[in-house]
Symmetry: C3
Subunit: 247 residues, 3 copies
């Protein structure tokens, strides 16, 4: 059972974060909010997102699992205007979710959760290097790198306490260093791993709206991006596996 | 013979209304203004449009019929700036129309009216249900419906005096009800018919600019949309045939 | 050797002017600035551009020739924000140019100048008709003509001292006359030549930003467009060969 109303902008922020990685997901409802955890089809990237009860204007739910087609959630934006409240209602064991917004009543057939991949386990990995950076700085560097290459190294230089991003193209390369002054904070442990820009670009678009993104890094290890949504009443973790550095 | 000057915005409004349905038309000139009546190639939708003498800055014409390629009329917009006057001149029996705007002189070869479909007769149909609604409310509901389906029912619920639009997709449906408060007026006679969203979308774009659109409806009957253009000195009727409701 | 810093907007203006004609060029560096001269692959259009030392915030160079891939120069814009300074460094005999902007370090492999067409000679032609016109007036007339044709005549009418542009389509034609009042100046010598709108469109986009464009014309001769960039510290000449007027 789920019965909730939510601001259209917060709803959009949440759906955008999920749709950067997966077209459908298992949404867990609980008394204190909703959450989902999903892996992309290639098993390269994972998202874990939670939206607390407090992110909603009203919220009532019990523990359940629903199968959601993310593209249909996007349709709801078209019907909403800025400041609109979206109301969502899903009776126990119902196959259809009723969404009301701006005079529209939208009935959405849910996906069978058996057809959606099981929730991934959260891997236990040790990522000692930590950096906190403005989301649009991060996204701009990703966009610049994507122009010349399809992969990008992220790392920390302990000597000069900088966070760096390096993209090597066939003939050219781009290096962006963020000094301590340009970062919100840095825990300077040696780190450097290589990542696919395809994934970084999609994540970057979402993260560009976050005032602060925490980046956790290791050596040839995954990267974890963490940031708040819904004014602090929601949280997103993106985990991205490294690529192998071929020479 | 036609010799007239017209504000670029009014000209654009007129051409946009026609181009939503047909790429070419027979334009009738007369002493008191111009008019056209045309049916789309599939015989599903009809437009009747009149532009009174008063919609022009200057106007002189006698009764005649000219064949107009609507896409060429659109070219004229590119040359005009906001507030420009467009001057049009067509001598008796001329094959070319001379258009002047913003220093440009554009000579357009007219179409042979024999190659354009004859004017359709205005069907005599009784559409007892009437609703007057803001054009952008109408267009927004059409756009929302188009996301999940290719057809849409329009109707009036006499019990609760509402105007409704319902789109049924394969698995989902959207319903938009307009209460008496959301409408400019309603004559609540039982009505419900199904229409192609392809046509409604094109018409909706044009109607979105009208402050008021009158909608006349019946049961499994065509719909008629009526609205003013040119600050009340012009008028458009769109007539759209219903689709058969298959289950 | 080249070591310079330049405002991002001036850099963009310069690259845009070149990229309208060629995807790569030989850039000449000298003590007093940089310059290039290039012909398009079809040998129809030529650009000669100079950027004086004064256009730069700092500039030091000796006489040399470097091969530049224009599309890579465009990448630099993505990294720059308004008001950013771009710093460029190229040691003697280096194959790589180092560009720094907004925290980015971009290393660009230069092209082998042997693979780029030799500099064209500046043809000695006599173009007696001269007109100075606002760049956006010129560009608007080009855009209007491009809607109905792929070629356009430019000329001067000595009788009424007007500059004219005429495009003849299959059935329609557009004529735009600029009277003395609409021009910055005119040297009214009889002139009329026909040009490809493909080239004019690309040039027009660049010239639309110039306050004044000088147009030099003859009879069935090339046209030369001249305008300043970089607040007068740079200059561009476009030369375009005429098309043969077929009837």
């Amino acid at each position: 059972m789920l019965k909730a109303t939510i601001d259209a902008d917060i709803f959009r922020e949440t759906i955008d974060a999920i749709s950067a990685l997966v077209p459908e997901c298992r949404l867990h409802t609980a008394e204190d909010g909703i959450s989902t955890r999903a892996v992309d089809t290639a098993n390269v990237a994972m998202i874990a997102i939670t939206l607390k009860k407090e992110a909603f204007d009203s919220f009532k739910a019990n523990a359940s699992e629903i199968g959601v087609d993310i593209s249909k959630m996007k349709n709801i934006f078209n019907m909403a205007s800025k400041g609109d409240l979206i109301s969502i209602e899903l009776p126990d064991n119902a196959q259809k979710m009723a969404v009301s917004v701006h005079g529209y009543h939208y009935s959405i057939t849910l996906l069978d959760t058996n057809t959606i991949r099981k929730d991934p386990n959260s891997p236990t990995i040790n990522l000692p290097g930590k950096v906190v950076i403005a989301g649009d700085d991060l996204n701009n560097a990703i966009k610049a790198a994507a122009v010349i290459s399809d992969k990008m190294a992220l790392g920390i230089n302990t000597k000069d306490q900088t966070f760096f991003m390096i993209a090597d193209g066939d003939t050219d390369n781009i290096r962006r260093e963020f000094s301590k002054d340009e970062l919100k904070s840095i825990t300077a442990m040696e780190a450097r791993s290589l990542f696919s820009l395809d994934y970084l670009k999609d994540m970057g678009r979402v993260m560009s709206k976050a005032a602060e993104v925490e980046i956790c890094l290791g050596i040839d290890h995954p990267v974890k991006f963490s940031f708040d949504i819904a004014g602090g009443n929601g949280h997103v973790d993106y985990l991205l596996a490294p690529r192998i550095e071929a020479d």
